[in-house]
Subunit: 234 residues, 2 copies
DNA sequence: CAGTGGTCTAGACCACATG
DNA sequence: ATGTGGTCTAGACCACTGT
């Protein structure tokens, strides 16, 4: 169907299986025929069936266990996937003009809460950067970030006056592990001022901790402008 | 390494490639050797290399294009994956005791904003349900939901006094498409009352629209208790 | 046009979990 | 012990796309 001619593609199989689930032919908890039987039905090899079913399982529709077989999941444990773009890309994708502005940058001793949050063994020097991201000169995001000097020594020579710390980090420390959290916070005086909203306004906030091979690199709080929505479809 | 003996697994290749990216051997924008060359290097078939590289591309580390080859992505367009469990499971996973309470359920005409939001052709009857989810008798989430009668006629006979509308829907309409958004909203009097927080408190909120084969099924606003964080690692 | 990844076949061995 | 999915090989043809 999707291919040019007579062979059955793993995509065809995925589509057919999804249709059967949708239409109720295969209801939740149903045990599906095994791969060999499906290969026979679809006139293809077991390899092809395997790929189709494996992907459907990854996408959260099926559960597969050796010997037990493949069954339809009743409560789709499906996962929402949010793509996390660079903020510049996000703004430009919306047709906005991106503008960056540095607010402050200074090297300080990590405060106690940060030492605890990053599980540092002892207080360390960090570069504390605050900056703004604008879309068409309207505040879009206020960023408050600390970068651990010991993990990224070059940071003390970095110039954040024109390049944002996130873009700098992406270029300097390309590979990282991340913990990301979304929450609703209340605008304090500083945040309210930069985002141009009233004090105590609810602010959609992201907290992001980044590690490089187990070493904590940076802690960032990203405060989004009023009305921001993090959206996905699946 | 991961397998019992002498063959090279696609997992080994993924690990090796990741290590090379991490350590800077293959920097961002680097063009990688083609699959045939890698198969030679790893002493395996191209099929195995293909699976490893394909998965790394899906996970956002690489970009692959026919003829152009495979390159390391500079700004990892990596995606945060949030698993969306049933709220009962989420609470019980935290060791809490789940309790459900119906607040109200009535059949009404869809208000204008909902008609627009769901792109209904005309105003329709909807079942409007409001309910609470508790963890250890502490408010965890206030749910305000409308279910389109025409899309799910059985809803008029449903009894939401003991079973939540989400669990009911999952059993009744197992397969759906979803639009999910997270935002920060301000507690109005109703929400503040049910969540037991002050008025105007920032509240982490999820909006969820669900379709069944193109037909809008339900619109839900989920208001989370103070301090809620939606967290993920990658 | 030519090089790269995308996919399929046919067959094999194996890991794992269940009865 | 046995059935199921998990993976690998060896080879082939094809789709796409940059030159």
């Amino acid at each position: 169907m999707s291919q040019s001619s007579d062979t059955t593609s793993y995509k065809d199989i995925k589509q057919t299986v999804l249709d059967r689930i949708r239409s109720g032919v295969w209801k939740p908890d149903t045990l599906l025929p095994n791969e060999q039987a499906l290969a026979l039905e679809f006139s293809c090899t077991r390899t092809t069936v395997n790929r189709a079913m494996r992907e459907l399982a990854e996408e959260g529709f099926l559960e597969r266990r050796r010997k037990a077989g493949t069954r339809v999941l009743r409560a789709p444990h499906r996962q929402a996937r949010f793509t996390i773009p660079l903020i510049r890309d996000e703004i430009e994708a919306q047709g906005g003009a991106y503008r960056y502005a540095l607010v402050s940058a200074e090297t300080v001793d990590a405060p106690e809460w940060l030492t605890a949050r990053l599980a540092l063994k002892q207080a360390q020097r960090v570069v504390h950067v605050r900056c703004m991201h604008y879309s068409n000169n309207t505040p879009f995001q206020f960023e408050d970030r600390c970068i651990v000097v010991q993990s990224v020594p070059q940071v003390e020579q970095a110039d954040f006056s024109t390049l944002g710390p996130n873009e700098w980090l992406v270029e300097t420390v390309p590979f990282t592990n991340v913990e990301l959290a979304f929450l609703a916070s209340r605008a304090d005086e500083v945040v309210a001022g930069f985002l141009d909203v009233p004090r105590d306004e609810p602010v959609f906030t992201a907290e992001r901790i980044t590690w490089l091979q187990g070493q904590p690199v940076t802690f960032a709080k990203l405060y989004f402008a009023a009305g921001y929505r993090m959206t996905t479809r699946f």
